[in-house]
Amino acid sequence: MRGVAKRFGDVTALRGVDFTVAGGEIHGLLGENGAGKTTLMNVLSGLYRADRAEIAIDGRPVVIRSPADALAHRIGMVHQHVELIASFTALENVLLGREGGRWQLHLDRHRHSVEAVARRFGLAVPLDVPVRTLAAGVQQKIEILKALYRGVEILILDEPTTMLTPQEVDVLFATIRTMTAEGLTVIFITHKIREILANCDRITVMQAGVVAATLDRAAADEAILVEMMIGQRPSGMSIGTPAGARVAGAAPLLEVRELVVEADQVARAVDRCSFALAGGELVGLAGVAGNGQRELAEALVGLLPAAEGSIAVAGSEVTRASVRERLAAGLVHIAEDRIEGGVLPGLSVTENLMLGLHRLAFRGRLYDRRAAGDLARRVVAEYAVVAPHEDMPATSLSGGNIQKLMVARAMMLAEITGGRVVVAANPTRGLDVRATEFVRSRLVDFVQHDGAVLLVSEDLDELLQLCDRILVMYRGRIVGDLPRPEFDAYRIGALMAGTRDEVQACA
């Protein structure tokens, strides 16, 4: 690919990128969020049309205008989140669009060829079970199988490891090696340097829409890659050590006893969970997505009702309290998904900031625009939110700045209510390095001022780095409670995956 450029309105995502992949290699594409990695690959796979691009495959120039074009040139992409039809079986998903026959389904006619592809690349997956019942790692294999069945020879994997346990990651890389041994070319997008170093033959680093460098594995090490990714060495932002300012024997700020939450189809999304958070403690909640962490967090803050058990904040019971009462009691929430559950689209930065605060900050029944504006200007400055004006719609900000706003809102609420407990659900997901560091430093700062944070995260590295203690959830139960000295990614991974003997050892 040569001279690829892409603009979205006022934002230049790619400014003349050159990118070359050799056949049969595992090529790592490294960069911060927003560096343009995914955009570049979306251009290659036909999802976006570049403003300018020359693409050549095996030396022959080609034009790629749609995913179908890309497929015709044997290029396929597996996206960050699996995009399978949950109620279909693996076979139905793989054959989607190629069922054959004009009116009738002839799935079994193709079964042999699907199985042959699966065997060839070592992708053993159950073909006849609805994919929703399968683990994330297996679903991903099905996505890969789907691409390979369509004859893809250049396979792009976008952040394939985010949803996986360490064990599943190992399996994934074993699969990738099998594929390259069979002659495939794999482009592997990630922001995790360790994965790149462990598995790739060559590495391209992107930064702010340009390629910083392409280098061989042998020539790369962690320090070089970090420097290229960020453009400069991050100074004084690293939070390597946890707070550790625990007050021994202090009364717990948040105490959860035998909590049961019932949700949707699953009888017990949270199954008799008990734990406590003391002031000055940053506790992580680890688990593969969908094992009840989200429901637990929502039950804590009052968005889901508790079927059984009790929740107490600083000694007072809030099990049946409304969200507003919990906010007033100082139990504050950073929403799991800032777009779906946090931001008010169409409302201004100021108005977004006031959500939750609006009952506490205004004296009467009137919305005091001046007071709100003053508060907003203070917060925008303090949290370094990049917003041209606090009356701009909040959704016009970038993802990182929206998240800063969400964190600022939670912290302001904590300040006004004297709140001491923050439940933060995946607060750094999708943020670039700087915004991530910022959010983390705010959480650590909160803990250092005797607050308690429950950090729900699917990023195990984040938990290992920040937390004093990690709780592991598996199928609605807390199957592990490890203090910092016992941190071990593989042990936690085994707990997350529900490996039996480990669960029993801890339960």
Binding site: F8, G9, D10, V11, T12, A13, G34, T39, H79, Q80, H81, V82, L84, A86, V131, R132, T133, A135, A136, Q139, M163, V266, V288, G290, N291, S322, V323, R324, L327, H333, A335, E336, D337, I339, E340, G341, G342, V343, L344, P345, G346, L347, E351, M354, L355, H358, R359, F362, G364, R365, Y367, R369, P388, H389, M392, P393, L397, G399, G430, R475
Partner: protein
């Protein structure tokens, strides 16, 4: 990420938005003109007729003012609901209920000898409460059991219509009329006139006052903020401690109250009786106006005025150009379609601009595997 100059986006928000509508209306005018030509009418005469008949004389202005009143209140009722994320299709029914309540109170107080200063407010209050009660039904159903308010309000329109038919052709019927029309309310119960000779009643003043109140409610009260928050993102609003059922109930009740007031004004100011056909589909037109006005208070007010002019003017089209009066509705529909198209187009352009900030999939990952 490059940042624009601080003022530019604000300006674009204020003026860029309305430019879109000016463009849409220009397109709509062109399409309407070709429609008139196709009907062998004279385009200029048609447009001039519309303007002159609705604004060119005192009686024309009076008619237009009388028309603005229910349309303004009705479209504010729809707009208020929309701000909270609710679709109130039941404005027509709520207008009828307001009219029924107002007429009923008028009859009940007929022989009490109360002065107009008591009677008229009593009628208006009764109408407002009647509409609010009729809005409270879908509000409560949605708040308590999540019943979709669209279906409930549509169905209640029929209830209100046939209740009006029953009352106006049954117990309250004026036998002289031979139609579904009630006997008149007492003179003390009629709204004072604003332009007595031209025939404009003072309802327009009330409507403007209420419009200002709604604007103030939405932008300057905590309650209005909560309505907007729920409308923007109910999940986030809930996480912010806002009671969704309460806001649902209150917003739909208030929406009904505005429509009910419109019904009471129609009785007290215009018809002076309950008649079937009191609202010739104001509720449906109000939805169009709320859309045209972009859900903003100023936009809805401007759109309500323009539509009123068009409606009054279209009545005269038959005489001058030989077009049926229903041509007015065709023009309205064309305007709405053009605005929707232009809006959809600009929304798509906005959409592509925001793409790099967030991953294309804004939704959370698919629901998890549970073995």
């Amino acid at each position: 990420m490059r940042m624009k100059a601080p003022m530019a986006p604000v300006l674009r928000r204020v003026f860029g938005g309305s430019l879109v509508y000016v463009g849409a209306i220009a397109v709509a005018a062109a399409v309407s003109a070709s429609f008139i030509v196709a009907m062998h009418g004279d385009v200029l005469v048609a447009f001039r007729t519309i303007v002159i008949s609705s604004l060119g004389s005192f009686s024309g202005i009076a008619q237009t003012l009388n028309k603005i009143c229910p349309l303004l209140l009705g479209s504010f009722a729809v707009m208020l609901g929309m701000r909270g994320g609710f679709v109130n299709i039941g404005v027509d029914g709520q207008i009828y209920l307001g009219a029924i309540a107002a007429t009923g109170i008028g009859f009940a107080l007929a022989d009490t000898g109360l002065p107009a200063a008591v009677m008229v407010p009593a009628l208006l209050l009764a109408g407002t409460l009647g509409g609010a009660a009729f809005g409270a039904i879908p509000g409560a159903l949605r708040a308590c059991w999540g019943v979709n308010e669209i279906f409930v309000t549509v169905m209640l329109n029929f209830v209100a219509y046939y209740l009006t038919e029953y009352l106006s052709s049954g117990p309250w019927n004026d036998p002289v009329s031979g139609e579904a029309i009630s006997v008149p309310i007492p003179d003390e119960a009629t709204l004072p006139m604003l332009m007595p000779r031209a025939g404009a009643h003072s309802g327009i003043l009330l409507a403007v006052l209420v419009a200002i109140l709604v604007w103030w409610l939405l932008s300057h009260t905590v309650f209005g903020y909560e309505i907007r928050a729920v409308g923007a993102n109910p999940r986030a609003a809930r996480a912010g401690g806002i009671s969704i059922p309460w806001i649902t109930f209150m917003t739909l009740s208030l929406s009904g109250a505005l429509a009910g007031l419109a019904g009471a004004i129609e009785v007290s100011g215009y018809h002076n009786r309950l008649i079937l056909g009191l609202t010739p589909g104001y509720g449906v037109i109000a939805i169009l106006i709320a859309f045209l006005g972009g859900k903003s208070v100023g936009g809805v007010a401007v759109a309500a005025i323009l539509v009123s002019i068009l409606m009054v003017g279209a009545d005269s089209l038959q005489r001058s150009v030989g077009l049926p009066a229903s041509a007015g509705f065709v023009f309205q529909a064309i305007v709405v379609l053009c605005v929707l198209l232009v809006e959809a187009h600009s929304a798509r352009r906005r959409g592509s601009r925001t793409m790099p900030h967030e991953s294309p999939r804004l939704k959370s990952p698919p629901s998890p595997p549970r073995g």
